[in-house]
C-alpha cells in the first residue's frame, strides 16, 4: 500500500482512560465494539484519505513507559500528532491533564498537533467531568477537543482524522519540515525523489492492496 504521507501519532493520558481501546477502535474496524468485550492494542496503523491523498496513520501507545524519562522524551519527539485522553467518569484523569500537556510541550517539537479527548462518553450516568470543562481546558491551551466513546465508536474516526487534517494543513502551510523524519512525518515512497531508497519502498504489501491513489 503506497501513501503520500505517513503521520506518526502517540496516545497519552493516565492509565485506564481507554487509550489502547481507542487505538484499536480506530485502526481496525473489524473489531466491532461489543458490550462485554474490551480489547486494546499498543500499536496500530490505518490508511485515510485527505484531500484525495492517501495518508497512513501509525499510532503508538506509550503505556507503561512513564517510569523512564528517556522513553517519553523520545516518543514525544518522534510524533506529529498526539491524542491526550482523559476519562470523563474519573475526575483525577482530567486533573492530570496539565502535567501531561507540560510534558508534551516540553519534549515535542512545537508543531505537534495535540487533540484533547474526553473518552467514555457512553457512560453519561457516571460522568464526573462536564463537557464544558473539557472545552474550556482545550480553549485555554489551544487544543482541539472532542468527546469520544471507544465502546460505541462515537467520534473516534473524527478525532483521529481531524488531527490528521490539521497536520496536513500545517504541511501545506510549510510549517512542518517534511524532509525531516524526526517530526513524525514521512513522505511516501513515490513522493520522495530526493531519497528513493526509503525503507517503505521495499516489501510493501501494497501489490495486492489495490486501488489507492
Amino acid at each position: 500500500m503506497s501513501y503520500a504521507y505517513l503521520f506518526k501519532y502517540i496516545i497519552i493520558g493516565d492509565t485506564g482512560v481507554g487509550k489502547s481501546c481507542l487505538l484499536l477502535q480506530f485502526t481496525d474496524k473489524r473489531f466491532q465494539p461489543v458490550h462485554d468485550l474490551t480489547i486494546g492494542v499498543e500499536f496500530g496503523a490505518r490508511m485515510i484519505t485527505i484531500d484525495s491523498k492517501q495518508i497512513k496513520l501509525q499510532i503508538w501507545d506509550t503505556a507503561g513507559q512513564e517510569a523512564f524519562r528517556s522513553i517519553t522524551r523520545s516518543y514525544y519527539r518522534g510524533a506529529a500528532g498526539a491524542l491526550l485522553v482523559y476519562d470523563i467518569t474519573r475526575r483525577e484523569t482530567f486533573n492530570h491533564l496539565t502535567t501531561w500537556l507540560d510534558d508534551a510541550r516540553q519534549h515535542s517539537n512545537s508543531n505537534m498537533v495535540i487533540m484533547l479527548i474526553g473518552n467514555k462518553s457512553d457512560l453519561e450516568s457516571r460522568r464526573e467531568v462536564k463537557k464544558e470543562e473539557g472545552e474550556a481546558f482545550a480553549r485555554e491551551h489551544g487544543l482541539v477537543f472532542m468527546e469520544t466513546s471507544a465502546k460505541t465508536a462515537a467520534n473516534v474516526e473524527e478525532a483521529f482524522i481531524n488531527t490528521a487534517k490539521e497536520i496536513y494543513e500545517k504541511i501545506q502551510e510549510g510549517v512542518f519540515d517534511i524532509n525531516n523524519e524526526a517530526n513524525g512525518i514521512k513522505i511516501g515512497p513515490q513522493h520522495s525523489p530526493t531519497n528513493p531508497s526509503l525503507p517503505g519502498a521495499t516489501g510493501s504489501s501494497g501489490s495486492q492492496g489495490g486501488g489507492c491513489c
Partner: protein, 1003 residues
C-alpha cells in the same frame, strides 16, 4: 488496511459458522478452519487472516468471560498453527504475518488471567516466534513485530522471566533479538527497543542479569557508545559548517538525539544494577567521554592525540569483533577520530553533567576535568583513570586518618591550593588586594590543561560564544547530585574551614576560587558596557554561578575588591539604562513588560542546554527565531530592552549578595492595590473626592449603575455596599496607566473607556479588561470624569516614571532651567488649579463651574487632543499608538519635570509605596528654594553626566563604534562610579577606578 481486509474476506458465507461470534463453538469452528488450511495460498489467505483475527477476539472475550475458551486453545496447541503459518514463505506471507503479529499483540496485551498467560508462554512457542526471521524490510511487519516484543517485555517479572530467559541454554531471545534493532532507522522502533531493554534490566533476577552482563553488555554498550561518538562527529560537522544558521532543524535534531542518548544511559544507570553500571561506566569513560569529549577540550597538539586515537581505534576494533548485530551498518571506513570543536565539547559535557548523576561516573569525569595536570595529561586514558583511582585511595586514607584523630586537633597541614585565597578576619584590605592580584595565583591552572581551556573560554572580549558553555559546564558540575566528594570544593564551591587561635577558640575561615570569580566578574562588567557582545543569557548564568561560588552559610564571603567590582557593574548597568530613560513614553511599558517577562521565565540551565541555537555563533538578527536572551540585541528598542534586563539582573544579584530583599520592584506593589470585591470606606478622603456616579453600558448591551473612583494608580468601579452605609464594593479595577478615554461626538454625557490588561498578567490574553460606554448624569460630570481619568493616567505614569528615576539614581532635574522647564510653569499652573479643585469637589455636589473653563485652557486642550488621536488611531497599529503616546508624553513631560524636581530630595528616602501622599505641585517652588543651597553643589557632577545621557543616541553609537569610543566610555564609567560610591573610602574608590579602567581597557 481494514477496508482491504474486509473486501478480500470471503469468509462471510462459510458453512457451519456459529451465530454467536463470542463462544467456544466459534473457536472450535475457527480451529477447524485453521487445520484445514495449513498451507497458505492465494486462495485461503483472506480466510486465514480473518480466522486469526477472530481468534484474538474470542480469546480475549474468553479471558474476560469464559475460561473454557482458553482451555480449548491450549489443548489444541493452536499457537503451533501460528508458527507453521509464519514459517511459510509463500505468496504474500507478510500479509498474513501482520495479522498474526496483531493477534499475538492483542493476546498478550489484553490477557488478564495470569494462569492463562503462563500457559501461553509455557511451551516455548513464543520464543520460536521471537527468533523467526520476519521480513523486516516491510515497515508494517517491523512495527508489529517490535510492538509485540515490547508488549512481552511489559509482562516481564520475577516469575515470567524464566519463560524468556533459559538459564540452562543461556538463551534470552527476547532481549538478544530486540537489541539487534537498537539503531534501526525508524525512531519508533529504536524507542521500543530501548523500552524493552529497560523493562528487562528492571527485572530482579540475578542469573538473568549475569547473562546480560557477561554475554551482551559489552557488545551492546560498546555499540551504543560507538554510535553516540559517530553521532557527535556529525553534530560537530553540522556546527562547523553552519555559521549562517542554515540548518537549524538538522542541528536541533542532532542535539535532541544526543539528549535522548544521555537520558537513556541515565535511565539505565538509575536502575542501580551494580554490575551493569560498572560495565556501562567503563565503556562510557574509556571510549567516549574521556577520549572524545574531554580530550577535545585541549587545543594543543600533543602526543596525547595519538594515544586518544589509538584508544578509539581499539574501541572500534573491539566493537567489530564483538559485533553480532545484523542491523547495524557497516563501517569499514573507520571514522576519523578527530576531536570535536571545543564549543561542542563544552556543550556536550554540560549536558552530560546536567543529565547523568551516577556517582562513580560523574566524579571521575569531574576529577579529570578539574584536577588533571600536564604530566598525567600526556598519558593515556587508562593511566588517567589509574591516577584518579590512586588519588581517591589516598584521599580516603587521609579522611580515615583525620577522623581517627581527635577532632580538636586542627588540620593545618592540609594542602591549600595557591590559587585559593583565604579570608581571615584580621586581614587588611590592602593585603587582600595584593593577594587577590598576585600573579602567582594563576599559575596552577596553566598546569591543568582541561581546566585551563574552560577558564580561557570564559573570556568574552570578542564574544561570548564559548563563555556561555564554560559557564554551563561549571554550573552543571557544581550542581550535579552525583558529585558528593570534595573534588569540586574550593574550585566550584566556597570552602569553610576552621582555624585554631587557641585551644578552645576556633575561627571560621571562608575561601573561594578567586581567579574564577575574577573571570566571571569580568564577564559581568563587560555585559554592562553599551556595545558589548555578551548575551543576556550569559550574564544571567554568570551571575547565577557567581552567587553559588561566593555564598556560604547564607551570606556572601565576597572579598572587598570583588564587592567593589560588582558594585561598579551595578553602577555601570544603571548608567547604561539611564541612556534610555524617558526617551520615549513607551519606556515605562517596556520597563514593566521586561520585568514581568523575566519573572515568568527564570533561567533553567538544563533547558538552556537543550537549545541547539546556542551552538551556532551568536547572532543579532531576530530572523533566526532565536530567543531574545540568547542573541544580541538588534536595533534601538532591543538595546533598550537589553539595558533594562541587564539592570534587573545585576540589581537582583547585588541585592542577593548583600543579603537584601527587593523592596522597589515591581513598580506596582500588588498588595497595595484594591482587589475586586474588596469593600472600601468611601468616606475617607482617599476615595470620596473622586466619586462620580455613572451607568456602564457594555458592548452586549448590559447596563450597570456604578460609581467611578479614581485612586492613585487604579480606576475602581464600585457598587454601594448594602451592609454598611458609606462603603462600596469594588466591582472592577483597572490600572489608570492602561486606560484609554474618548468622548462621544453625539452625546456629551458619554465617555468611551477602554482598560487594557496589565502587562503583569500571567495570561497572554490581550483582550481589554473592559471596553464600555460610560453615561454620566450630565455633561459637566462627564467632562470632570474625563479630565480626571486623563489626568489620572498621566499621573499614574508619572509616578512610576519617578519611581524608575529613583531606581536609576537620576538626580532631580534641577539644573539650569531648560526651555522645557520654563514651559512647564503653565502646566504647573493648571495642575495647581486641579489640585485645588480636587479638594473642593465632593461627591454629589455640583462640580465647580470652573471645570469646563479649564477644559479650554490651552495645555489641557492640547493634551486631550492628542489623547483623542491616540484613541482614534489605537486600532491601526501598536507602533502608531506608541508614536502618538510619545507625543502625549512630550506634552506631559513638562509636568514630569516639575514634579521630578519636587521629589528629588526624596530620592534616597526609599519612597516606594504608591500610597505615599502625592506631593502637591504647589509645594514645588518652596522645596526648590529650600534645597537649592545644597542640591546645586551636590548635583554639579551629576548634571554633566545627565547632559550626556540626553545627547542623541545616534551620535553616541557612532562614537562607540570607533575604537576611541571605548575610552570615552571608560571615562564615563569611571566618573559615574566615583559619583555614586560616595560612602566608600577614598582609597577604595581610587583602586576601584583603576579596576574599572583595567576592565574596560580589554574591550
Amino acid at each position: 488496511m481494514s477496508r482491504m481486509f474486509r473486501s478480500r474476506s470471503w469468509f462471510g458465507g462459510g458453512w457451519g459458522r456459529p451465530k454467536n461470534p463470542h463462544s467456544l463453538e466459534h473457536l472450535k469452528y475457527l480451529y477447524n478452519v485453521l487445520s484445514r488450511n495449513q498451507t497458505v495460498s492465494e486462495h485461503n489467505r483472506g480466510l486465514l487472516v480473518e480466522t486469526l483475527r477472530s481468534i484474538a477476539e474470542i480469546l480475549i472475550w474468553g479471558d474476560q468471560n469464559d475460561s473454557s475458551v482458553f482451555d480449548f486453545f491450549l489443548e489444541k496447541n493452536m499457537l503451533s498453527f501460528f508458527l507453521r503459518i509464519m514459517r511459510q514463505r509463500s505468496g504474500g506471507s507478510s500479509f498474513v504475518c501482520v495479522q498474526l503479529l496483531q493477534t499475538l499483540n492483542i493476546l498478550f496485551e489484553n490477557i488478564r488471567n495470569e494462569t492463562s498467560l503462563y500457559y501461553l508462554l509455557s511451551n516455548n512457542h513464543v520464543n520460536s516466534i521471537i527468533v523467526h526471521k520476519f521480513d523486516f524490510s516491510d515497515e508494517e511487519v517491523m512495527a508489529y513485530y517490535i510492538s509485540f516484543l515490547k508488549t512481552l517485555s511489559l509482562k516481564l517479572n520475577a516469575h515470567t522471566i524464566h519463560f524468556f530467559y533459559n538459564e540452562h541454554t543461556n538463551d534470552f531471545p527476547l532481549y538478544t533479538e530486540a537489541i539487534k534493532f537498537f539503531n534501526h532507522p525508524e525512531s519508533m522502533v529504536r524507542i521500543a527497543v530501548r523500552t524493552l531493554t529497560l523493562n528487562v534490566y528492571k527485572v530482579e533476577d540475578a542469573s538473568m542479569l549475569a547473562f546480560i552482563r557477561d554475554r551482551t553488555a559489552a557488545p551492546y554498550f560498546s555499540n551504543i557508545v560507538w554510535f553516540i561518538g559517530k553521532h557527535i562527529q556529525e553534530l560537530d560537522n553540522c556546527v562547523r559548517n553552519d555559521a549562517d544558521h542554515q540548518s537549524q532543524n538538522r542541528l536541533s535534531d542532532l542535539v535532541a538525539e544526543h539528549l535522548d542518548h544521555l537520558h537513556y544511559l541515565n535511565d539505565i544507570l538509575c536502575l542501580n544494577i551494580t554490575d551493569l553500571n560498572q560495565v556501562l561506566t567503563d565503556h562510557l569513560l574509556h571510549k567516549l567521554l574521556i577520549p572524545l569529549y574531554i580530550f577535545s577540550l585541549s587545543k594543543r597538539i600533543t602526543p596525547l592525540n595519538d594515544a586518544a586515537s589509538t584508544n578509539l581505534h581499539r574501541l572500534i576494533q573491539n566493537r567489530a569483533l564483538s559485533l553480532d548485530c545484523t542491523s547495524s551498518p557497516h563501517h569499514e571506513n573507520t571514522i576519523n577520530v578527530a576531536k570535536v570543536s571545543c564549543v561542542v565539547a563544552l556543550f556536550l559535557l554540560s549536558q552530560v553533567f546536567l543529565i547523568l548523576s551516577h556517582g562513580p561516573l560523574v566524579e571521575t569525569l569531574a576529577w579529570i576535568i578539574l584536577k588533571t595536570d600536564r604530566v598525567n595529561y600526556e598519558q593515556r586514558v587508562d593511566k588517567l583513570l589509574e591516577r584518579y583511582n590512586t588519588e581517591m585511595k589516598v584521599q580516603k586514607q587521609k579522611i580515615e586518618e583525620s577522623t581517627s584523630e581527635s577532632s580538636a586537633q586542627c588540620n593545618s597541614e592540609e594542602p591549600v591550593n595557591d590559587s585559593i585565597m583565604e579570608e581571615r578576619k584580621n586581614i587588611t584590605d590592602e593585603e587582600k588586594q595584593r593577594l587577590a592580584t598576585s600573579p602567582a595565583e594563576t599559575s596552577p591552572f596553566v598546569e591543568k590543561p582541561f581546566l585551563e581551556t574552560i577558564l580561557n573560554s570564559l573570556d568574552c572580549t570578542d564574544n561570548d560564544y564559548t563563555s556561555l558553555f564554560s559557564l554551563c559546564l561549571f554550573y552543571a558540575v557544581a550542581n550535579n547530585k552525583g558529585i558528593t566528594s570534595d573534588v569540586i570544593d574550593q574550585i566550584l564551591k566556597p570552602k569553610k574551614s576552621f582555624v585554631c587561635k587557641s585551644s578552645n577558640n576556633k575561627d571560621v575561615k571562608y575561601s573561594y576560587n578567586v581567579s574564577l570569580v575574577d573571570k566571571i566578574l569580568h564577564i559581568i562588567m563587560l555585559a554592562c558596557q553599551p556595545t558589548c557582545r555578551v548575551r543576556l543569557v550569559t550574564l544571567d548564568l554568570a551571575l547565577k554561578l557567581l552567587i553559588q561560588l561566593v555564598i556560604c552559610d547564607g551570606r556572601s564571603i565576597l572579598l572587598e575588591s570583588h564587592k567593589l567590582t560588582i558594585e561598579a557593574a551595578k553602577s555601570q548597568s544603571t548608567a547604561l539604562l539611564r541612556n534610555f530613560y524617558k526617551s520615549e513614553e513607551i519606556f515605562l511599558d517596556m520597563f514593566e513588560h521586561e520585568y514581568y517577562d523575566m519573572q515568568k521565565v527564570l533561567l533553567n540551565v538544563e533547558r538552556l542546554c537543550m537549545d541547539s541555537a546556542i551552538l551556532l555563533p551568536p547572532t543579532g538578527t531576530p530572523m533566526t527565531g532565536i530567543d531574545f536572551t540568547k542573541r544580541l540585541p538588534c536595533g534601538e528598542v532591543e538595546r533598550a530592552r537589553r539595558a533594562i534586563r541587564v539592570f534587573f539582573l545585576v540589581r537582583d544579584s547585588v541585592l542577593t549578595l548583600n543579603g537584601d530583599v527587593e523592596t522597589q520592584l515591581p513598580l506596582t506593589n500588588p498588595r497595595s492595590c484594591v482587589q475586586i470585591d474588596q469593600a472600601l470606606d468611601l468616606s475617607i478622603s482617599r476615595y470620596n473626592s473622586d466619586l462620580i456616579g455613572c451607568t456602564v453600558i457594555y458592548k452586549d448591551g448590559t447596563k450597570m449603575r456604578r460609581f467611578l473612583v479614581i485612586d492613585i494608580l487604579q480606576l475602581i468601579l464600585v457598587e454601594p455596599d448594602t451592609k454598611r452605609l458609606g462603603w462600596g464594593v469594588a466591582k472592577l479595577v483597572g490600572f489608570l496607566q492602561d486606560i484609554e478615554v474618548s468622548g462621544d461626538k453625539d452625546d456629551s454625557r458619554c465617555l468611551h473607556i477602554t482598560i487594557h490588561r496589565p502587562l503583569s498578567g500571567t495570561t497572554t490574553n490581550r483582550i481589554p479588561l473592559l471596553s464600555a460606554k460610560f453615561v454620566f448624569d450630565d455633561n459637566i460630570r462627564c467632562m470632570a470624569a474625563k479630565q480626571r481619568l486623563t489626568k489620572g493616567r498621566i499621573k499614574a505614569r508619572q509616578k512610576k516614571m519617578q519611581h524608575i528615576a529613583r531606581l536609576l539614581e537620576i538626580p532631580g532635574q534641577s539644573g539650569p532651567p531648560s526651555p522645557a522647564f520654563i514651559g512647564s510653569s503653565s502646566g504647573g499652573y493648571t495642575s495647581r488649579q486641579m489640585g485645588r479643585n480636587r479638594e473642593r469637589s465632593l461627591f454629589n455636589r455640583c462640580p465647580g463651574i470652573a471645570a469646563p473653563k479649564r477644559e479650554n485652557s490651552p495645555g489641557i486642550a492640547h493634551r486631550s487632543d492628542v489623547e483623542a488621536r491616540i484613541n482614534r488611531n489605537s486600532t491601526e497599529s501598536p507602533n502608531n499608538l506608541s508614536k502618538l503616546r510619545n507625543e502625549a508624553s512630550q506634552i506631559s513631560k513638562k509636568e514630569v519635570r516639575s514634579r521630578d524636581s519636587s521629589t528629588s530630595n526624596k530620592t534616597k528616602s526609599g519612597d516606594s509605596s504608591p500610597r505615599m501622599p502625592r506631593p502637591r505641585s504647589e509645594e514645588i517652588p518652596l522645596e526648590l528654594i529650600k534645597k537649592a543651597s545644597t542640591s546645586v553643589i551636590d548635583m554639579a557632577p551629576k548634571i554633566s553626566v545627565l547632559s550626556r545621557t540626553q545627547t542623541p543616541k545616534m551620535e553616541q553609537d557612532q562614537s562607540l563604534a570607533e575604537s576611541s569610543g571605548a575610552s570615552k566610555d571608560t571615562e564615563k564609567g569611571v566618573s559615574l562610579i566615583s559619583s555614586v560610591s560616595e560612602e566608600t573610602s577614598f582609597i577604595a574608590e581610587e583602586s576601584e577606578q583603576e579596576k574599572g579602567l583595567s576592565f574596560i581597557e580589554t574591550v
